[in-house]
Assembly symmetry: C2
Homo-oligomer: 279 residues x 2
DNA sequence: CCCCGGCGATACTGCCGAGGTATCGGTCGC
DNA sequence: GCGACCGATACCTCGGCAGTATCGCCGGGG
């Protein structure tokens, strides 16, 4: 199976439309049709059911879509990591959600930089749910993730810290005078919707709340009285004067973990992880 | 980067010889030389240093070798899992080391088979260190691994049981009358070498002991007085009359875990894992 | 010291297959 | 019933992969 074929299949499987997929791939539609047919013939499996009006995935097709994306990420990672290794410049790329664990991150970078043999760390602040992808396709070497929100499956991890969550409300909101809130009170009695975060594929779930991409955006919406949110305690250090935070004891506790791809054989990465666990 | 190129590079990087690699790939040597050059040009990296007498890997080349193998496994997995999904026959493939955790495995299979909606489980007894590979390239859906011997990195796991280890000695061996032994006593005073297990790549580490592939082979060698071994307690149920087992309290405790590739979305697998954790 | 043998690179050729254009056949909507 | 849309088919072109022949380099043996 060639990566070209995998790319073609992924395009069709995602677009569910040969014409659009071909345009996205920058080729004409007939070669695409033929390529997919060839894959199906070789695998002895029907991957797509085509009527002249619509294309849908079969069960086998859904499996291939998931596996093909993972495989393409692995190929991308191979290319990117080799390119980086070839520059000879040592360095690590760390991804973290913009606005999350800011203090912890600062401490980590300081602690690591003080170590002998520390290499430069390039910090990338990504949108939510982009870190796993970055780790998988080789754009990053290490990430800060937050359980239970992020999935750590497929990575090696070390837990760094655990914290409770607080409800973030506009200053002056009736509930902001309370010393504690329950999740139910936040969702039902605040009168404010919770925001919707993008899913791994960049789309947003359906629902009432506003769509947000990062914490700065979210905090501004809260200040405007358009939303509320339950966030890890550590976000308090970034709250502006027009926002209030109230503990939510029954919200799940959030664990910040440092994660890296399995089988990483880099001295620098090992040093960073060591520094992290010693914090 | 096409999988063909990755395969070519892996062949050369492993053989460190263009001619042999070409023969292994079933092509002539010149196209192989050109293909590697093209990869190097595209990545802007020297992957191999060639003198007219030898070929060696550069640092970047070593990175690509590791990453390329992982990527090729992912591509193989995509193909195999799709083929399996297409048959429509539900079923799980479980790999375990031949001879390890035999009782636990039997109980697991029984417990799962009794569940409603259980699918047939195809058990593959592999050699040591082959399970991870099988899981990674899609030959298997789930594996029984043994920490700390097997690496579980990159997989999702659940711990099933923990046990101590025993020294397995020929019946009548002087140490076999003892009620306990230390690791030091086993290695230094038994007069018998420990066996050498194959590494992940099928090669054997250097050392004095005999090379073994599986437990049956090992037990026979011990009975012949050619080796000794420290194995998990549960192997006792398979010991023949000509072998004796003595607890080794200071040997690391062994945890049997059930492991599966991350992002598996199979109902059947979930059922098997559930049955396993309930044992 | 020279020549031979081994190895990777280069030159040149041929052919397979990926991709393009044109068109067909089926289906839905008006 | 006709037009529009969509995927499949027919046919052609051409780039690039693989093969053969050969070169250039180097080390070892006579």
């Amino acid at each position: 199976m060639e990566t070209r074929e995998l790319r073609y299949f992924v395009a069709v499987a995602e677009e569910l439309h040969f014409g659009r997929a071909a345009r996205r791939l920058g080729i004409a539609q007939p070669p695409l049709s033929r390529a997919i047919q060839q894959i199906e013939r070789r695998l002895g499996a029907e991957l797509l059911t085509r009527t002249s009006r619509s294309v849908t995935l079969t069960e086998a097709g859904a499996v291939l879509l998931r596996e093909a994306k993972a495989a393409l990420d692995a190929v991308d990672a191979a290319e990117r990591r080799t390119r980086r290794a070839a520059t000879g410049r040592p360095g690590l790329v760390l991804v973290a959600k913009a606005g999350a664990s800011a203090e912890l991150l600062a401490k980590l970078l300081d602690a690591y930089a003080a170590e002998p043999g520390a290499v430069p760390v390039d910090v990338q602040l990504s949108g939510v749910a982009q870190q796993e992808r970055s780790l998988r396709d080789g754009r990053a070497d290490v990430a800060l993730l937050h359980r239970p929100f992020d999935s750590t499956s497929g990575f090696d991890t070390e837990s760094l810290s655990t914290e409770g969550q607080v409800a973030v409300l506009p200053a002056g909101h009736p509930l902001s005078v309370r010393t504690a809130l329950s999740m139910l009170e936040v969702t039902e009695e605040s009168g404010l919707p919770l925001p919707r975060w993008p899913l791994f594929d960049g789309s947003y779930p359906a629902g009432p709340g506003p769509e947000v991409r990062d914490h700065a955006q979210l905090l501004q919406l809260i200040a405007l009285g358009r939303a509320t949110a339950v966030l890890p305690e550590s976000c308090r250090s970034q709250l502006r004067g027009d926002l209030a935070a109230v503990p939510v004891p029954d919200a799940p506790r959030v664990t910040t973990v440092i994660a890296w791809p399995p089988h990483s054989r880099s001295r620098a990465l090992a040093g960073l992880v060591r520094a992290a666990t010693r914090l």
